[in-house]
Symmetry: C2
Subunit: 325 residues, 2 copies
DNA sequence: TTGTATGCGTTATCAG
DNA sequence: CTGATAACGCATACAA
C-alpha cells in the first residue's frame, strides 16, 4: 500500500507538503496541492491512522463503558452521546461490560494505552478509587453521582427523584407501597433503596421484605414480578419500579390476569422510556438523553483544553403524570 | 510517560529483551525477566498500543456496522459476535449507522486506514459493488444473503423462511393475510415482500394494498398498526409481522381493545425474540445469535490466515409454535 | 540467550 | 511557501 513518501516522490514534492495537503494546512501553492491530490487519487492512497495516532498522541475516539447495550435505559444515554460525538467528529467505542470488573478495567487500560482519548462510564461496578487512578491518563466522565470525586460526573439525584416518586404515590393515597429494583451493581440502586426505606420510616409505613423485589431488568422480569405478587397473601397497593420496561411487562401481564391498574395496583416507573407513553405509564423523567449529551460535552472540552479539573453536572428530574397512578 | 527504552535502561537490558518480556517470548532468562517486570511495575509503565498497531499492522479490533444499536433484532446478533470476540481476545467496535451511507462508508474507510482488522456488516444500505471495493483492505462479512459476491456472508433464506411462515398460516385456515414490514432499507425486506406477493399468487389470494403495512420497527409501531386495523372496513384475519417487538406492541394494544388473538386476528412473528416467549407469540426463529457467532468465526479465520477467499454460510430457520396462531 | 540496527508511516520542528 | 530531518514507541531480522 502506498505511503506518504511514495506520494511525495511521484508528485515531485516533499513529504511535508503531502502532509500539509492531507491536513488542509495553509501555505501550500495551488499547483503543488493539486499535484499531490492527483497522485493520491491515482495511487488510491489512504492514511495509516495508526501512524497518525502515534505521532499526535490522540485517536479521536472515546470509549463508553456500558453494562448492557440492549437495555433501553442505556440506549437513551448512548443516543445523546452519539449525537454529540457526530458533531465533534469523534468516534464512540461502545464497550459492553456486563458489570464485570475485568472488562471494565480493560477499557480503562485502553485509555492508559493511548488507544482512546477519554472514557465515559455510564454505569460500573468499580470503585471511585480505582477510577481515580486512571484520571492520570485522560479525562473520565461518570454518569452517576459519586460525590466529591477526582473525575467528572453527570447525574440526577436518585435519592430526591425516588423520594419524590414515593411522595407522589403517598399523596395519591397509597399506603402499602412495594419496590422493584434492577441489578444491585450501580451505586444508584443502593441509593434508591435507602430512599425507599427512609420514606417508609418518614411515613410510618412498615418495612416488608416481600415487597422488596430485586433483579428486575427486562419486561420478562416484570411478568415474573406480577406472578410473584399474585402469590402473596397481602399485596401492595402500589409499586415503584426502577425501569419502565419492567413496569411494561408487569402491566401487560396484569391485564392478562384481570388486575386493574391503577385500581388494584398503582404503578410508577422510573426512566421515561418511549414504551411508557404507549402504556400510559406514570413515570419519573431522569433525562437520560441529556445525560449523554452533557457527558460528551464535558469530556470533549477536557480533551481539547487538556483540562484536568473535574466537573460535576447535576440534571433535574420531573414526574410525568399519566394513567397508572 | 515511560517508554520501552527507559525500561530497558533502568533494568539494565536492551529494548529487545523488554519487548520479549512484554510479548511473552521464550529465550529470556528468569533473572532479566523479573528485572524487567520489576522496572515496569516501578515506573507504572504501559504500552502505547498505537505504536504496536503501526508496527504490527494489526489492531485486534473489528468494527460492526449496525443501523440501530437498541433494536433487539440486532442485539441478538451482537450478543453472538461479542461472545466469540471475547474468546478470541478481539475488540468489537460497534458503529451505529442509522442506515446512512456516509456513516457506513466511514467504517469501511477505517478498514482502509488500518484502524481495524475487519468489518462485520449486520445490515446496510450500500451496494455489494461498493463493499467489494473494500475487500482489498481486509476481510468483510455481511449478515445478509447477497448471492455470489466477493465478500463473505452469513444468512438465512428470507424467502423460504417467510414463505414457510405464510404457509403455516395458510395451513391453519387463514385466507386473509396481511403483512407488516420494517424499514425498507435492507435487501432482506424486499425479498420478504416478494415472498409475500408470490404466496398470494400461489394461493389465489388477492393483493390488498391496505394490508401491506410498512415502517414497523418498534412496539409503538405495533400499537399504531392495531389502530390502523381498527379503522379498516375489512380486516385481515391473520398478520405476518417482520419483527417480534412490533408484534408485541400490537398484541398488547389488541388486548386493550378486546380483540381476541388468535380468534379475531392471528399473528406470526419473525425473529424469535425473548419478548415473544412472554406473550406466547408464534414466530419464526432465524438464528440471530448464531449469525453473530458464525460471522465472527469467519472473519477471525480470514484475519489469522490472511485468507481472502469469500465464505458463504447458510443458517436454517424454524417455526416456533406458540399461541397466537 | 542477548543486543544492535532498522523500519513502521506519519507529523512536528526549524531552517531556509 | 517549501523541505530535510527528527521524533513518536515499538517489534523484529540479524548478528553475536
Amino acid at each position: 500500500m502506498a505511503n506518504i513518501k511514495e506520494i511525495a516522490r511521484m508528485a515531485g514534492v516533499s513529504v511535508t507538503t503531502v502532509s500539509r495537503v492531507l491536513n488542509n494546512h495553509p501555505y501550500v501553492s495551488e499547483v503543488k496541492r493539486t499535484a499531490v491530490l492527483n497522485t493520491i487519487e491515482k495511487l488510491n492512497y489512504s492514511r495509516n491512522m495508526n501512524a497518525v495516532h502515534l505521532i499526535t498522541g490522540r485517536t479521536q475516539a472515546i470509549a463508553v463503558i456500558i453494562p448492557y447495550i440492549n437495555l433501553f435505559y442505556f440506549s437513551l444515554i448512548i443516543e445523546g452521546l452519539a449525537q454529540e460525538a457526530l458533531l465533534a467528529q469523534y468516534r464512540l467505542i461502545l464497550c459492553q461490560t456486563d458489570y464485570q470488573p475485568e472488562e471494565e478495567i480493560k477499557v480503562l487500560e485502553m485509555l492508559r494505552n493511548k488507544e482512546i482519548d477519554g472514557v465515559v462510564i455510564v454505569s460500573t461496578s468499580i470503585s471511585s478509587e480505582v477510577i481515580e487512578e486512571y484520571t492520570a491518563y485522560g479525562p473520565i466522565v461518570v454518569c452517576q453521582d459519586r460525590g466529591n470525586c477526582q473525575f467528572s460526573s453527570v447525574y440526577i439525584e436518585h435519592y430526591s427523584a425516588f423520594r419524590s416518586g414515593l411522595q407522589y404515590l403517598n399523596d395519591k393515597g397509597y399506603r402499602r407501597i412495594g419496590y422493584c429494583e434492577g441489578r444491585q451493581h450501580g451505586s444508584s440502586s443502593s441509593i434508591r433503596q435507602i430512599a425507599f426505606r427512609d420514606f417508609l420510616n418518614a411515613t410510618g409505613q412498615p418495612y416488608r421484605e416481600e415487597w422488596m423485589i430485586y433483579d428486575c431488568v427486562t419486561e420478562e422480569d416484570g411478568v415474573r414480578v406480577l406472578h410473584h405478587l399474585l402469590e402473596m397473601k397481602q399485596r401492595p397497593d402500589a409499586l415503584i419500579i426502577s425501569g419502565d420496561h419492567v413496569a411494561a411487562g408487569l402491566i401487560i401481564e396484569a391485564w392478562k390476569h384481570g388486575i386493574q391498574i391503577p385500581e388494584d395496583l398503582a404503578i410508577i416507573g422510573f426512566d421515561n422510556q418511549p414504551i411508557g407513553r404507549t402504556l400510559g405509564l406514570t413515570t419519573i423523567d431522569n433525562q437520560l438523553s441529556e445525560m449523554g449529551t452533557t457527558a460528551f460535552r464535558i469530556i470533549y472540552d477536557q480533551i481539547q483544553n487538556n483540562n484536568r479539573h473535574p466537573v460535576h453536572h447535576k440534571l433535574e428530574y420531573r414526574i410525568i403524570e399519566r394513567s397508572t397512578v
